[in-house]
Symmetry: C2
Subunit: 344 residues, 2 copies
């Protein structure tokens, strides 16, 4: 077999604040021959997720940054093109983490076989994948909603927020979603079955949120930060829990914004309300509850209790602009890039 | 028996910012006759604690505020003067919560018998009482230090901080204390056995703290806030835990200080470091671990592994000034007011 090339998008430079096309560069490279145990993969879907913005920065985080010159990271659904790995014949669909590129060589042990008849392939990157698990683990292990409690989540039409609210409902809690614009709010309320959906663009957003939580907020699943968080804080109940899985409004902020300084007041709130604030990354819960998640999420999906929506962008070359848009809430549903067709 | 009077200090008005003598008023009232099941108490020691500053404010907290005109609350060691309660004959010493007054009528069920031969009476308000339990529960249930980890606590010569560090040491962790001035630092290091003690008044405080925690900070027991917290934050390790039991530097702050606004950066830190920040009041852990605390603390005290120090002020009339001083770290050890002599 002659050498295979991969078209890939690498980090060209680190953004200072808002990222732009200049921070990316497209390259075409020849892939090495397969070693024993390896597979050649053709990317079908690339997942775009807010955490990727953090990986573009240098410095400490829960995960290593992408180095300048390296392929941008990301979860992928791929098809095996050539194989020297047992149990992974050509044609097999797999979940991997091969990033923003058209083809890749991977160890067979680093991918996971997907059954395209069990669920649509792209769900492995969304409701049945990392975002769904983030919602499941963060809500149930940290948020621990009880029946009758109120759970609030932003980006409620997105893959994490939509699962948070629906899983909260399944556990008997009240779910209030925050989303941008009337279409997303209607979807969150009417399609996903949240008890209420509030448009954060409304001028009286804080008042609307307050009216939507007459018994206060017991769990605030934090994935955006910014003005949404500011509106939530005064509504938190005693012993409220705040799982923090993302701060998408802050990822492009290069330095502390102007004052007043709300940190002392926040810490006092943590004290007087006996709050629990807990940052997390889903991987820390994999060993403990991934099995439970797979069982529950598959069942809820099959029963129609866990709905999902994909926002599919065609072509790897459109990944950067789709990514920038996502950081400003322009996607509607789980954002994936169709890098190649499902059938080869 | 003729009517007994009580001299008491009531909340005269709510402070805006720093409290002053004007916020208190001394009254003398006649106490009612004892009903069945009640005891007449003569206060021996009154505990002064930072949480009392919060109770002077209106508004929501973990506990109801003291109403204007009501006696200031506080833990007390008292002696029974007259009794209509079984098992509480005159002469018995009890732990109660009768507040800033010389005498009180209390239900026998609301007090707890103390054995003056078992431990000095004032320890029931300190190392063997609420402050000791705050340290024990917050450190072990929330902080959960592992052997070899680093625990940092401020107000380290005070009743909570001193117990936090010593209990951390008993559990095999490294203890670094922060205190104000060379005398307190020497006590924390040489008498209490902390691994290091840092003077927060030193101009290079943040650098000294950094040098004292070469492996970073795994548990920061938060009881002060302000510049100490600011110096701690950059040193926190992945998965660090922050039990928040007090914010004494903030209790007199009436509004958000000038910017920049550090809250977004703090929430981002919570995320990227997977931090746990948990406000608490000791009472929520009483059912679960008070028995363990009593057993452990008594044993450690008897073995000399849990040292303590009282700062005794004479006379109820000096309670307000002692209280103001405590809010600025002027006490050295557990602050108690000797309201009456131990022997009547």
């Amino acid at each position: 077999m002659s050498a295979v090339t991969s078209t890939r998008i690498v980090l060209a430079s680190r953004p200072h604040g808002e990222p732009s096309e200049d921070n990316f560069r497209t390259e075409t490279v020849e892939l090495p021959d397969l070693a024993d145990g390896q597979v050649l993969l053709r990317t079908v879907y690339l997942s775009l997720d807010p955490y990727m913005r953090n990986r573009m920065n240098a410095g400490e985080s829960y995960a290593d940054p992408v180095e300048v010159g390296d392929v941008m990271v990301g979860g992928t659904v791929s098809q095996v093109v050539d194989s020297r790995a047992p149990g992974l014949p050509a044609g097999t669909y797999v979940l991997g983490y091969t990033g923003w590129q058209s083809h890749a060589v991977a160890d067979g042990t680093a991918v996971r076989v997907l059954d395209p008849d069990r669920a649509p392939l792209a769900t492995a990157l969304g409701v049945l994948g990392m975002p769904g698990f983030t919602a499941y683990a963060g809500l149930l292990k940290i948020g621990q909603p009880k029946a009758g409690e109120t759970v609030v989540v932003a980006a409620a039409s997105g893959p994490v927020g939509s699962a948070v609210g629906q899983i909260a409902k399944i556990h008997g809690a009240r779910a209030v979603g925050i989303a941008g614009g009337p279409d997303k709010c209607a979807y969150v309320r009417d399609q996903l079955g949240f008890d209420a959906a509030i448009d954060h663009r409304a001028p009286d957003f804080a008042d609307r949120l307050k009216a939507a939580v007459p018994d206060g907020i017991d769990v605030y699943f934090e994935n955006v930060g910014g003005p949404v968080t500011a509106a939530v804080l005064p509504l938190l109940n005693l012993h409220a829990r705040i799982p923090v899985c993302g701060m998408v409004s802050q990822y492009n902020v290069a330095s502390d914004p102007e004052g007043p300084d709300r940190l002392p007041g926040f810490m006092s709130l943590v004290l007087v309300k006996s709050l629990t604030v807990r940052g997390f990354i889903q991987s820390e819960f994999v060993r403990e509850v991934y099995g439970d998640f797979e069982r529950d999420a598959s069942q809820w999906l099959a029963e129609g209790r866990l709905k999902h929506r994909e926002d599919v962008v065609d072509g790897l070359e459109n990944a950067p602009s789709a990514f920038f848009g996502m950081l400003h809430g322009k996607n509607f549903g789980k954002l994936v890039v169709r890098v190649g067709s499902e059938q080869d």
